[in-house]
């Protein structure tokens, strides 16, 4: 679907604005084109069409320019691309993959991003995320679905002290508010 001619106002599930406190910056992510690609047999064709090799190694991501492919399962990838790709990429992917059994589903609006960065990011996330987040255990480029207290998220480490959270839209305010609460706590410490 192309969003090129849309006139209706777009409304993000998060009304919050970016801010820094106690060494941690929270930023609501900008709109992205998000595609779920399923089907291991389609991966090879997708590598070329997407422009970044889809990671075959569990829990890893690959990026090329502003595009990123996150491994979510052995035959499941979350493809992220700038919104400007919305007009062309889904169609070009679909035609490139036509010969391989697969499923390509647009989930651009299903979820939204929360960007968390700064020196205190690991203990902040570890208030709710049960995974070890040291760089040794969760290196830059690692991405996985996991639990955030009572919500499910995709957690992707984009830098030494930077994480990108993907969360379903109705859970986004919950995740944001909890992050905000613990950010205040840790700043007071």
């Amino acid at each position: 679907m192309s969003d090129a001619t849309i006139t209706a106002a777009r409304r993000s599930p998060l009304s919050a604005e970016a801010s820094s406190l106690g060494g941690v910056t929270l930023t609501p992510g900008a709109p992205l084109l998000r595609l779920i690609l399923r089907g291991a047999e389609a991966a090879e064709a997708a590598d070329t069409a997407f422009g970044a090799d889809l990671p075959r190694r569990p829990n890893r991501s690959a990026t090329a320019g502003e595009r990123a492919a996150l491994w979510l399962g052995p035959d499941e990838w979350l493809l992220l691309a700038p919104e400007s790709d919305a007009a062309s990429l889904p169609a070009s992917l679909a035609s490139a993959l036509a010969q391989a059994p697969h499923a390509l589903v647009n989930v651009s609006h299903r979820q939204t991003a929360i960007l968390v960065s700064g020196s205190g990011v690991e203990p902040l996330l570890n208030a709710f995320v049960p995974l070890e987040l040291t760089e040794a255990a969760f290196p830059v480029g690692m991405a996985t679905r996991t639990i955030f207290e009572k919500a499910e998220i995709v957690l992707w480490r984009t830098g030494s002290a930077a994480f990108h959270i993907e969360v379903w839209r109705s859970f986004a305010p919950y995740v944001w508010e909890l992050l905000e609460a613990v950010r205040r706590e840790n700043a007071a410490n």
Binding site: N59, P74, P130, T144, T146
Partner: protein
């Protein structure tokens, strides 16, 4: 909270990410219309429920999303092994012997 090795992610991951799926290797009859009520009840409801090694299904719901199988000791809750769906059921007696000798 248990730590479970997901054979797909090839990582130890916290129990919170998983959903238990009951006893493993209970195959749905290929043609259910051919089985008797007794056999169907057995498939639906009757389980081994052992006190000891249990072969069971888990799904890494908040992870890779895959179902896989595990052998867990139901008294200690210790996982002996996990393996991908579709792989053969391990020899429990051999596993038990291995456990015994490792003690």
């Amino acid at each position: 909270m248990l730590l479970i090795r997901c054979p797909v992610c090839e990582m130890d991951r916290p129990e919170l990410e998983f959903r238990y799926g009951g006893e493993a290797h209970i195959a749905r009859p290929l043609d259910p219309s051919k089985v008797s009520d007794e056999e169907w009840a057995d498939f639906l409801y009757f389980r081994t429920n052992p006190k000891g090694l249990h072969v069971e299904r888990w799904r890494h719901t908040a992870g890779c999303g895959r179902f896989f199988n595990a052998v867990r000791h139901t008294v200690t809750d210790r996982f002996v092994t996990t393996y991908k769906s579709g792989e053969p059921r391990p020899d429990l007696e051999a596993l038990a012997r291995k456990l015994e000798s490792a003690r």
